[in-house]
């Protein structure tokens, strides 16, 4: 009886459009906000790739991000004493002015021979050369940074009033942490920042299977350090993203809920108006369940239309939002998100329509028929 339901809801076209709009806007909000969460997740996932097969040592108590360069030379010595380690890569970080979409730039100080651990094996240079032993005042930048600031090999870059010459541009990796980075030598950055400390240290195990063991050893050996395996980082990241998802969904859901009330209201009115008609239907032989199903189908149909429209609206909105994030985060409407949007709409329609549908199914045919 789907064609009948379709016919019935368009009996009062204006009212149906308004009702559908209520759901549509709410679902649009869920999808648009949700796309931000998904975009953050995508960004985080790509960043996590950097941590694979490494142990990231951070100051104790910090999670994914540290407050500053707080790992002391003594801590570093301790790490150098740990067995089963192929290499130690200390890193110093300077962060440029913070903007809406993130810091303006991130400068990473790293030993020239070890840039591979950060940039990745088999990543070559787009232009120029990587940092080399003995470099001073040299920098290599990622593609995104180069493009954003229109940098070529030979240009200069200033950090805290110190000039660095661009010696190389890294080829595009697709990982924003790398593409948006600026790498200088460890010594240079330590001098500029006037610090002996490090931001974090990557510990590269000889054997990947020893990762957990080494991480445990570090934590036992020092109170000041925390050792994060990529699993641990992934877990923490996942927690944060889930919280963001929950939050964005919650806000959108409140808006959609109001739309659901609109559906309920519309159906209550429709049943009231069609009282006599429902009485006639029962007289003709429609069962109570048929009446219930009819009303429920109509409300579900309206909500479904609103749901699909809402997903499309959300997609459009997320496209516009990505301009605002300036490339750091790309909001994306995943298939899962779209499905959630449509399903939630359907749920609102069924739950909202249930009360009026039950009332309709319980109408006494004699009373309903004689209703004026």
């Amino acid at each position: 009886m789907l064609d009948l339901a379709l016919k019935n809801i368009f009996r009062n076209r204006t009212r149906t459009i308004l009702t559908v709009l209520g759901i549509l806007i709410g679902i649009g909000a869920i999808v648009a906000l949700g796309s931000i969460a998904e975009g953050i997740d995508a960004s985080v996932q790509s960043s996590l790739q950097l941590t694979a097969s490494k142990i990231t040592i951070m100051p104790a108590g910090s999670g994914l991000f540290s407050a500053g360069n707080d790992i002391t030379p003594e801590d570093l010595e301790l790490l150098q004493g740990i067995g089963g380690v192929a290499d130690i890569v200390p890193v110093v970080v300077a962060i440029g002015p913070i903007q809406f979409s993130g810091p303006e730039y991130i400068v990473i100080g790293i030993e020239p021979g070890k840039t591979e651990y950060f940039v990745g094996e088999n990543i070559g240079m787009y232009q120029g050369r990587p940092l080399e032993e003995g470099d001073s005042g040299a920098a290599m930048v990622g593609r995104t940074t180069a493009e954003r600031y229109s940098l070529q090999v030979g240009d200069s870059w200033t950090v805290d009033e110190e000039d660095f010459e661009i010696v190389g541009i890294i080829e595009e990796t697709g990982i924003s942490d790398i593409d948006a980075s600026i790498l200088v030598t460890l010594e240079d950055l330590k001098n500029v920042l006037e610090t002996e400390n490090y931001y974090s240290v990557y510990v590269i195990p000889d054997d990947i299977k020893d990762t957990e063991k080494i991480a445990a050893e570090v934590e036992d050996a020092s109170e000041d350090l925390t050792a994060l395996t990529s699993e641990e980082l992934a877990r923490q990241a996942s927690q944060i993203v889930d919280q963001i998802r929950f939050f964005t969904f919650g806000i959108g859901a409140i808006a959609a809920f109001v739309g659901g009330l609109g559906v309920m209201n519309t159906m209550i009115m429709a049943v009231m108006e069609r009282r006599k008609e429902i009485g006639v239907m029962k007289a003709i032989g429609a069962t109570n369940r048929m009446v219930l199903t009819q009303i429920l189908t109509e409300s579900a149909l309206m909500s479904l239309i609103g749901g699909v429209g809402g997903v499309l609206l959300g997609m459009g909105a997320s496209f516009l939002l990505s301009a605002g994030f300036g490339g750091q985060i790309s909001p994306v409407v995943t298939p899962m998100l779209a499905l959630e949007g449509v399903s939630f709409a359907l749920l609102l329609g069924v739950v909202g329509g249930l009360y009026p549908a039950r009332n309709a199914s319980r109408l006494d045919p004699v009373e309903a028929l004689r209703y004026e």
């Binding site: 009886m1 064609d3 009948l4 016919k7 019935n8 009996r11 006599k276 008609e277 006639v280 239907m281 029962k282 007289a283 003709i284 032989g285 429609a286 069962t287 109570n288 369940r289 048929m290 045919p365 004699v366 028929l369």
Partner: protein, 260 residues
């Protein structure tokens, strides 16, 4: 002697009370005993408040009596649940109302299709049969008109076509000519008579219209919720068969000549 429950409709000691839990503040029907023979045309008459509409609702399985038994086509419908009653209404009974009660936003054709769709037929089957029924009542050139585009008589004809959709045995009419002028009313009456005499439908109408009554095989007169008497405007073999006491005032025969 006829066997019990062989009539297409029979009520035995049917009473309908309205009131607070268990009490009988208003007695709409009091011990109604009546029956309708298969293929007959019966009128139910009486002043306002006599219970005739209530009786029609009970016969039509829309209303459950407080006590007594109701037999439709030999089957006792007392104790059946809502779904079972709906099935009987769907399969055995067709309704025609004083105010036509068509769906205003649907065409004449769609209105006649509705009972067929309820019975589970597909859109095409339903459309097919609906067309035939509308042809039967003479409205083939009005099929795509909506009720607002049809005259009262035409609307009632659509309603009659609708009532025939699932091939019922019985057609129940609640003042079917009540909203129509004399000429149109006569046309509807003739249609009903044709359905009764030529197609064999059993027809029961509640009516104030004496013309309708004159053309009936039997008139059941109600007063204050009881059967006052049953009269036979056109003579009847039942009348000759036996006597039966109904209500408190007994049974009165009438042997007027047939008006033809």
């Amino acid at each position: 002697m006829k066997q019990k429950h062989e009539h297409v409709i029979e009520t035995m000691d049917v009473t309908k009370c309205y009131g607070e839990e268990g009490t009988c503040e208003v007695t709409a029907l009091n011990n109604i005993n009546m029956h309708v023979e298969k293929g007959s045309f019966v009128s139910i008459m009486g002043p306002s408040g006599s219970g005739k509409t209530t009786l029609l609702d009970v016969i039509g399985c829309l209303l459950k009596p407080t006590s007594g038994n109701v037999y439709i086509d030999g089957k006792n419908v007392i104790g059946l649940d809502d779904d079972e009653l709906a099935l009987i209404r769907r399969e055995k009974i067709g309704f025609v109302f004083q105010q036509y009660n068509l769906i205003p936003s649907s065409t004449a054709l769609e209105n006649v299709e509705i009972p067929l769709r309820i019975a589970g037929r597909s859109k095409w089957e339903a459309e097919d049969k609906a067309k035939r029924l509308l042809k039967l009542v003479g409205l083939e050139d009005r099929m795509v008109h909506k009720p607002s585009q049809l005259s009262g008589g035409q609307q009632q004809r659509v309603a009659i076509a609708r009532s025939l959709a699932n091939d019922p045995k019985i057609i129940l009419g609640d003042e079917p000519t009540g909203n129509l002028d004399t000429k149109t009313g006569e046309m509807i009456l003739n249609l009903l008579r044709k359905l009764n005499k030529e197609e064999g439908y059993t027809i029961i109408v509640v009516t104030h219209d004496s013309r309708v009554a004159q053309h009936s095989d039997k008139i059941i007169n109600l007063l204050d919720g009881e059967v006052l008497n049953e009269t036979y405007p056109n003579g009847s073999r039942e009348h000759e068969a036996r006597r039966r006491k109904t209500g408190r005032l007994g049974y009165i025969e009438s042997s007027r000549q047939s008006r033809g």
